[in-house]
Symmetry: C2
Subunit: 201 residues, 2 copies
């Protein structure tokens, strides 16, 4: 997969941020803001300050392969953010509250350009390339798993934990849609509060 493409410099673990990394984060940002189809290669290349040759060197599969890498990276950001909140807060309810605040903050700090880094592509490419869909599914799955694991640790039965975790992610994702169209963080913060009530009960 994409990991087999990683160049020697990255494997060695030092040197400055490679053009490969810049491409992934530029693509991830643009896909998050406006989706996969609406983002042209030239736009990605401009933002990453990279010529076309480098893109096709690192990603022979072109835009499709870059899309997969971007969704994997976005999923890891999401999962890492939630995991660190779980650790710092110690409870699922607390982590959800903090996570919702994180999301609302990202949104407001980007002038409502950046909601979920995965959701836009998830919807428009739901019938698209299977490996892209798989990367997106994996991103969501990682978040659900992390949250469900904490719930189980708090004594919730496994099946109920998965249901609750899925519900939490659903609610936050949907709130992010409304928040972007309303240009207000309120739906996300409110969703966080209601989920805390639910998890505390």
């Amino acid at each position: 997969m994409s990991s087999s493409q990683r160049p020697a410099a990255a494997r060695a673990g030092r040197k400055r941020e490679s053009s490969r990394t810049r491409l992934i984060s530029a693509a991830a940002q643009l896909f998050q803001e406006q989706g996969f189809a609406a983002t042209g290669l030239s736009e990605i290349l401009d933002r990453a300050q990279t010529p076309k040759g480098s893109l096709y060197h690192h990603f022979p599969g072109g835009k499709a392969e870059l899309g997969v890498a971007a969704m994997e990276a976005a999923g890891q950001v999401l999962q890492h953010t939630l995991t660190s909140r779980l650790e710092s807060q110690g409870s699922a309810a607390g982590a959800i509250a903090a996570f919702a605040d994180d999301l609302a903050g990202w949104l407001e700090g980007s002038d409502f350009s950046r909601g979920c880094p995965v959701a836009t592509v998830a919807l428009e490419q739901a019938n698209g390339a299977p490996d892209l869909v798989a990367a997106i599914r994996g991103a969501f799955e990682g978040v659900i798993d992390a949250l469900a694991r904490q719930l189980v640790a708090e004594g919730t039965p496994a099946e109920r934990a998965r249901r609750l975790a899925t519900l939490c992610l659903s609610t936050l994702e949907g709130a992010l849609i409304l928040a972007r169209t309303q240009r207000s963080g309120a739906p996300v913060r409110m969703a966080g509060e209601e989920l805390v009530n639910l998890l505390s009960a």
Copy 2:
């Protein structure tokens, strides 16, 4: 806006379905499935069985104007579906249960191609043309209003009713994202069940 474009035949209220109507519903379907940017005019024209000249006759503003009309139409479908469920069920909780089943049914019946008719465009065009965003915001607002009104009628304080209605829509929208990527109606049905619990409490 778009209503000023309506041709004489439609105003008179008879004759068969006009090409204008076919264009709107073809566009709405395609935008729902794959988004605005990913859908070419040629695709819309093919599905509507209409030549390009007709499109630019009915929608001088081109794809952008058609997009607004499609989102308005999609919003009305959504609002009408919920309203009729509110009437038939008599309670907000019952209507949400039925509405969630409707959404899950649409999804499964279309091989997971059709989730929310508005959400895909909402995300990818959140920073796009203001009138398109306004149409989308109006669509969501109509759903929230209808649900909140019922909650108020059941005795919920107005402010709390809006919060709950927004939460319901958020949860269902998010569940539709997960459902499409997982190719399963389960997240939507589960979200409906949990929302019923919440509203009944």
